[in-house]
Symmetry: D2
Subunit: 93 residues, 4 copies
């Protein structure tokens, strides 16, 4: 079980909507639509992916990291380091 | 015809690969995979989308904006403003 | 006392180096240096600021958030929400 | 002479304000201010730097790139490639 389990359906719905946005982008390219319009749609899909990431990270801190910190010991340290690395990847992507 | 027309197949292939990544993300969530692994996959998809954007923007400058600047006049100004706005959206997404 | 207190000197040194980069940028603009070179320097300063943020966030999770989670209760929830909001600002800036 | 020359004073004023923000950050760290407040101030400085970048890029397209495209030839190609590389650095920083 994961931190996001309680809202699994919500996350799946958002990811399916993003999948639809990516298919829409393929249609735009096939129809030679205007580059700027394609770029605007990519920004929308990127923002939607980012929002999913931020939601997952919040749940992760609230559940997995919180649990590890409550248990203490070496695992707690490891979990925080892992979360910090994921935050760095998020910020840089 | 658009700036990206010459490599339309390349762009479509990249977008289909990203669509596959998004479907992979849905499977990960359905299988309750570890949050950090899901986040890593989202970062990969986001980076792939960003790379498509940067490619399209390059083509756009090289073709549409170049043409407008060659023609000069009010349209040239408008095209640069539009490109700058798209760059700002890219940077902020 | 804060999570970053143990490496306060390190953070101050990094911030002074960034201050130097910003003053360098002013000289570049005063000397009419080439736009692309100015942009490259701004990217370097932005990356340095981001690295400071990521370091502070790591310490924050490791100390303030960890303490609040160990204490439990309403404050723990609040601290995680606050950290998530800060991560979102980081990702979007 | 550069694209940003016409608004050099404006750019210098913005960079001096950012320098002030960085010095403010040093004071915050010296006074052990709360990590989240420090992070909020870093996000503000990062956004201000980004806005300077976007302004410079707009001027660069409007002047240097436009001129190179008007002149045509190999230099035009080179200038667009250089601008695209700078946009990529901006997006990734």
């Amino acid at each position: 079980m994961r931190g996001y389990t309680s809202d699994k359906d919500g996350y799946l719905k958002r990811l399916r909507r993003i999948e639809g946005q990516i298919r829409g982008l393929q249609r735009m390219v096939e129809n030679d639509e205007y580059c700027i319009d394609v770029l605007t749609q990519i920004s929308a899909a990127t923002k939607a992916l980012q929002a999913v990431s931020l939601g997952l990270m919040d749940e992760h801190l609230r559940h997995c990291v919180a649990q590890a910190l409550a248990d203490g010991g070496k695992d707690a340290d490891e979990k925080v380091r892992e979360a910090s690395d994921a935050i760095a990847r998020l910020v840089r992507s």
